[in-house]
């Protein structure tokens, strides 16, 4: 099975071609300012070097968020359009799981991945290896950093934290918990190869059209509207004309 895996959830851009659990080609860019400009040319180039044609692809695996809204949308739009237009399978994987996989395998510690969500909040999820499989122990969510630290302290277990470990986050982790080990920079990059491997084992989505990013946070405009219009939320706001 030929898999193309894509992660542009945050600043790095990670793309891999994976065939039968073997890495064929992989690119990670950490200089990208604009995923829209780089994503497709890198896919095009990797495919060319691997002598793969689009029609040969069997499955697209995408990191579906959380992360930067624009970054996640570029990956998900590319993935769902490729899958739809080539009539092939599509798999979405949590961007936090992608970040956690490598360190969880290497250290055997429960790993908590965090993405900075501003105002001292994070997108976060906890993952650990169980019988060779990555399983979630803290569900992906958007929360205050203090809430995450509370959850960690409740578990009373050492954990490894990877991802956006900002200086101010580092400070709060170190002062408020004795269970935390902070990951180094190398453990804070997404691996598109790991993403491809994970995606190979997950059932594809049944409806590509309705596949959307996991933002884990509604927009501010909608939040305010819902507060002032309780119970009025409709199922759909888009209609064909």
């Amino acid at each position: 099975m030929k898999i193309l895996s894509i992660d542009t959830s945050n600043a790095p851009l990670a793309i891999a071609l994976v065939e039968d659990d073997q890495l064929v080609a992989e690119t990670t860019l950490n200089v990208t300012k604009n995923h829209s400009v780089f994503l497709m040319p890198v896919i095009e180039q990797l495919m060319k070097m691997a002598s793969w044609t689009p029609a040969e692809l069997n499955r697209i695996v995408v990191a579906k968020g959380p992360g930067s809204y624009t970054g996640v949308r570029i990956a998900v739009t590319t993935a769902k359009t490729l899958a739809s237009t080539l009539k092939i399978e599509l798999v979405g994987v949590s961007s936090l799981a992608v970040m956690a996989k490598d360190p969880a395998e290497l250290t055997n510690l429960p790993v908590i991945a965090i993405f900075n969500a501003r105002r001292n909040t994070v997108f976060t999820g906890g993952y650990q290896m169980e019988q060779g499989k990555l399983v979630s122990f803290i569900e992906d969510a958007h929360m205050e950093l203090s809430e995450l630290i509370e959850k960690i302290n409740e578990k009373q277990q050492p954990v490894l934290i990877v991802g956006d470990i900002l200086p101010e986050f580092k400070n709060q982790f170190e002062t408020n918990s004795k269970f935390i080990t902070l990951g180094n920079e190398q453990s804070s990059f997404p691996s598109a190869f790991q993403l491809g491997l994970m995606g190979a084992k997950i059932n594809p989505v049944s409806d590509i059209d309705s596949f959307v990013p996991d933002y884990l946070r509604i927009t501010e405009a909608e939040m305010n509207w819902q507060k002032s219009h309780p119970g009025e939320l409709k199922k759909s706001y888009v209609r064909e004309v």
């Binding site: 624009t70 739009t77 359009t81 080539l86 059209d209 927009t219 706001y237 888009v238 209609r239 064909e240």
Partner: protein, 337 residues
């Protein structure tokens, strides 16, 4: 069937997700438009992050429906055309990203289209284009007079210095309690009222082709607020008629000036506000009286708003002119001609 030229086109610059299949640049095989208007009405205007989220919900569904409705497959297509600006960056990106994926997947040429060129080509479904040509583009985001000396050679003669005409409609609509977008309601009210307030016609006499609507907007709002303070009730129909008359006078006088200075064979009236009946009537009357040798091409009402059919019509011509882009195409929110 052999000389069939088919363009698959994408348009997501604002709050409509639209995908079309256009044959030979002038025939609509499909034109799927999914509008988000019900969503943004909650907020009184388009919220960019919400718009972008809706586009991604719709994009592949619209794509499949466009192909199914047109009864064509990817290997029938000549090229993919996509709006890459101007517009909201987060909205543009969904169309650009999807169009690139389709072009890559099926090894099709990718043709980048300026949204404003697209609006002009909505009139291509009415008749063939003749040059030189003038276009008056009026929409929620833009107010421009464009001179087209020869095919696909656009030159902006004049544009708005502040608010677009459609924007001004929405802003005064809010003052009158009209739901976004306000254009249609104000147009209807205007027909039932009279120009009694005589609002300013900004820059009408200036020796250029530029527009300004912020002075009109302020004058309108001040008039309403002053009346409120005096606890006086103004006739909303007359307010609407006076506002619309000022907008139309300015648009028409600037267009006349451009037509007098640049003789053309055709005048294209296009863009969301080109659906305004008052404007259509006035431009038609002006041409009949003063420029009877200029053919008026009004974009069909259904194609005045944003849609991919117009992008496909422009796309065919751009394709014939060898306009191409590669996989690094990005959205350009501030794109101009």
């Amino acid at each position: 069937m052999e000389n069939r030229k088919l363009i698959l086109s994408f348009e997501t610059s604002c709050d409509e997700t639209s995908i079309a299949v256009i044959e030979n640049g002038d025939t609509i095989l499909s034109n799927i438009v999914a509008t988000q208007i019900d969503s943004h009405q909650r907020f009184g205007g388009v919220v960019p992050e919400v718009a972008s989220r809706h586009h991604i919900e719709q994009i592949t569904h619209c794509l499949n429906e466009a192909l199914e409705t047109a009864k064509v497959d990817y290997n029938d297509l000549s090229a993919v055309a996509v709006t890459y600006g101007p517009g909201l960056v987060g909205s543009l990106l969904i169309g650009v990203t999807a169009a690139k994926a389709v072009a890559f997947a099926h090894d099709l040429p990718l043709v980048p289209i300026n949204h404003m060129a697209g609006h002009i080509y909505a009139a291509r479904f009415v008749d063939q284009f003749k040059y030189p040509q003038m276009a008056l583009l009026v929409s929620g985001g833009h107010t421009e007079i464009v001179y087209i000396e020869s095919e696909y050679d656009f030159k902006v003669l004049g544009e708005t210095r502040d608010d677009a005409a459609g924007e001004a409609y929405d802003k005064i609509g809010r003052v009158l309690g009209v739901n976004y977008p306000a254009g249609k309601t104000i147009d209807e009210w205007a027909h039932e009222g009279h120009d009694t307030f005589n609002f300013p016609r900004a820059m009408e006499k200036d020796d250029n082709y530029d527009f300004s609507f912020s002075g009109l907007k302020s004058s309108f709002i001040n008039t309403v607020h002053n009346a409120e303070q005096r606890e006086e009730k103004l006739d909303t129909k007359d307010l609407a008629a006076s506002f619309q008359q000022s907008v139309i006078d300015v648009l028409a006088s600037k267009t006349e000036r451009a037509l007098a200075d640049y003789p053309v064979k055709q005048l294209v009236l296009a863009g969301g506000v080109a659906a305004n009946q008052g404007l259509r009537d006035r431009i038609e009357k002006d041409l009949n009286q003063k420029f009877s040798n200029v053919q008026l091409l009004m974009a069909p009402l259904k194609l005045c708003g944003d849609n991919a059919a117009m992008i496909g019509a422009a796309g065919q011509v751009a394709f014939d002119h060898k306009k191409r882009t590669d996989m690094s195409l990005n959205a350009v929110p501030g794109l101009s001609f």
